[in-house]
Symmetry: C2
Subunit: 253 residues, 2 copies
DNA sequence: CGGCCTGTTGATGCTTATCAATTCCTGTGG
DNA sequence: CCACAGGAATTGATAAGCATCAACAGGCCG
C-alpha cells in the first residue's frame, strides 16, 4: 500500500557503465538539502536508495506504536507526524511534532518511546533499521550527520521546554501558529491546523478554551484570520513573532 | 589547574609487551557502565584515553561559553553542570541540568547553543572535539553509543517538556527534588540543592516564592526536611513520587 | 557587630482553568 | 441537494492557582 521503491524512478543513464549520478528522486526531493542525506556523496546516496522506500502515510495512520521494537527509521519529506505517548491516567499526550526534513525513529533499536502518527497525508523516506545501521557503519558521515541532527533536535526541545516553563497563553498560541506555518511563514497564505484544538492545548500546556480565546483575540487584532475551523491565515507575521517572543511586555495579552 | 592526564595513573603492567588491559582509572570510574564509553572494547578504551583528560570543574566555573566554537566534549563523572542561555531580555535561563554519566558538548562543532557551568565541584572526562571526531570515525560503535544517548536525552527532554506543559507547582517542585536526588533517591540521606531557589524557579517555570512555599508545604507534610537552606532530606520517597506524578488528584496542593 | 543577600512568609490581583451553555461545522443519510 | 445529528469549537461566568508586591528573618561576609 502506497509503497514505492526509491529506485523505481531513477533516470540516471549509465552511458559509460558507471552509475555515480544522483538518483533523480533525490534531486526532486524538496527536503534533500536539510535532511540527513543532504551531506552524502553521490555514490553513498545511491547505495542508501537501495535500502529505502518512499511511503505515503495517510492522515491518522500510525507508523510506529509506542513500546514496539524499532524496526525502521525515516525522513519526513512532506506533511507532519506527531510523537505521542499514553500517560498513567490513560489519556494520550503529544510529545512533539515533526515536519519536513525531520528524522524519526531510533537507528539503534530498543522499544519506541512514543508512537508516530501522521497528522495529515505525509510522505516519508523509510529505511529498515538494520540495513540502515549497516549503512551507518560503512558511511560514518551519515552517523555524524544524524548525530548533528539529534543534537539540533535536543537544543530545539530544550528551548521549547523553556518556552513552556515561562510563556503566557498568548505567547504559546503565537508560537504554535508559527510552528504550524513553518519557519518561513508567508503572510496571506492559507495554512491548515494539523491538529485539533484539544491537541494544540496539550502541546502548549493550555486548555481548549484558552486556545480558542487566544485565537479569537489574535483575529480581532487583525494579526490572523480564521476562514474556517481548520485553517488560518497570517496577516502580520512580525506581530505574531513579537507576541511569541515577548508578549509579556507588549500591549496585547 | 586541576588537569590530570588520564594516562597518568594507568596501572596496567605490560608484562608481555601488549597493553590491552582496561586502564585502571576507567575501572574505578563510577559512571563507566552508563556513560558512552561503557560499550567500548578494551583496546578502543585504551586509545580513547590517550586523547582525554580528567578535569575538575569547580563550582561556578564555566566549561563552555554560549556562542563559542565547540572545542571539546565531555562525560560527567560526578557532580552537576547546568546548560544555560541568555535571553532577549538579558536574563539568564537554565535549559537543563546534566548529572553523572551525562554527555555534554557537540562533537561536530559549530557554535555552542548554551553555556556549560558547574553547579558544584564536578569531575569531567574531557576530550578535544577534533581527536574525538577522528576516534568516532575509526570506532563507529562510539558514534552509535553517542547517537543512542542523544536520542535518550531527546526523549527525556520531551517528557520534561510535557511535565512543564501540564504540571502544577507541587508536581514541579516534587519532580525537581527527585531530579536533584537522582533516580535512586534514598530516604533519610542529606542532599544538597545544586542551584539557588531562583534557578530552581527558572527551571520549573515558577517563581522563587512559589518554590519556597511548596518546599514549606512538603516539609509540613513530613515528606521532606530542610535542615539548612541549601540541603534537604527525603523522608517519604513514595509520597514525593506520587506528587510528582499525579498531584492534581491528590489532597496536597 | 552590622550590612547585605538569599530565602521565607503574608496580602492582593491577574491569568488561566473549570464548569456550563450555545453555535457552527462536517459528515451522513434521505 | 438538503436536512439532520453529532461533535468540535466558541463564548460566558466563576473560581482556583500562581505571580506580584511587600515586609521580614536568617546566614555569611567583612
Amino acid at each position: 500500500m502506497d509503497l514505492e521503491p526509491l529506485l523505481g524512478s531513477q533516470t540516471c543513464q549509465s552511458l559509460s557503465g558507471t552509475t555515480n549520478c544522483t538518483p533523480s528522486v533525490c534531486n526532486e526531493c524538496a527536503v534533500r538539502e536539510h535532511a540527513v542525506c543532504g551531506s552524502l556523496p553521490v555514490d553513498a546516496l545511491t547505495e542508501l536508495h537501495q535500502i529505502g522506500r518512499h511511503r505515503l502515510l495517510r492522515k491518522g495512520q500510525t507508523l510506529v506504536w509506542e513500546g514496539d521494537e524499532t524496526l525502521l527509521v525515516a525522513n519526513v519529506m512532506s506533511g507532519m507526524v506527531k510523537l505521542s505517548s499514553g500517560t498513567s491516567t490513560g489519556t494520550e499526550q503529544i510529545l512533539g511534532i515533526v515536519g519536513p526534513s525531520g528524522f524519526i525513529g531510533r537507528p539503534n533499536g530498543g522499544p519506541a518511546a512514543h508512537s508516530i502518527v501522521a497528522l495529515m497525508d505525509t510522505k516519508l523516506c523509510v529505511f529498515p533499521a538494520s540495513p540502515f545501521r549497516r549503512f551507518m557503519e560503512v558511511h560514518p558521515e551519515m552517523g555524524v550527520a544524524l548525530l548533528d541532527k539529534a543534537f539540533d533536535d535536543l537544543d530545539r526541545a530544550r528551548r521549547w521546554q523553556l518556552m513552556l516553563a515561562r510563556a503566557s497563553a498568548s505567547e504559546r498560541t503565537a508560537s504554535l501558529l508559527l510552528e504550524f506555518a513553518g519557519n518561513r511563514a508567508i503572510e496571506g497564505k492559507a495554512y491548515v491546523f494539523p491538529i485539533s484544538r484539544g491537541q494544540m492545548a496539550d502541546l502548549a500546556g493550555l486548555t481548549i478554551e484558552t486556545i480558542s480565546r487566544q485565537l479569537t483575540r489574535l483575529k480581532k487584532a487583525g494579526i490572523i484570520s480564521l476562514p474556517s475551523r481548520s485553517g488560518f491565515i497570517i496577516h502580520d507575521r512580525g506581530a505574531l513573532a513579537a507576541i511569541a517572543g515577548e508578549a509579556r511586555h507588549s500591549g496585547l495579552h
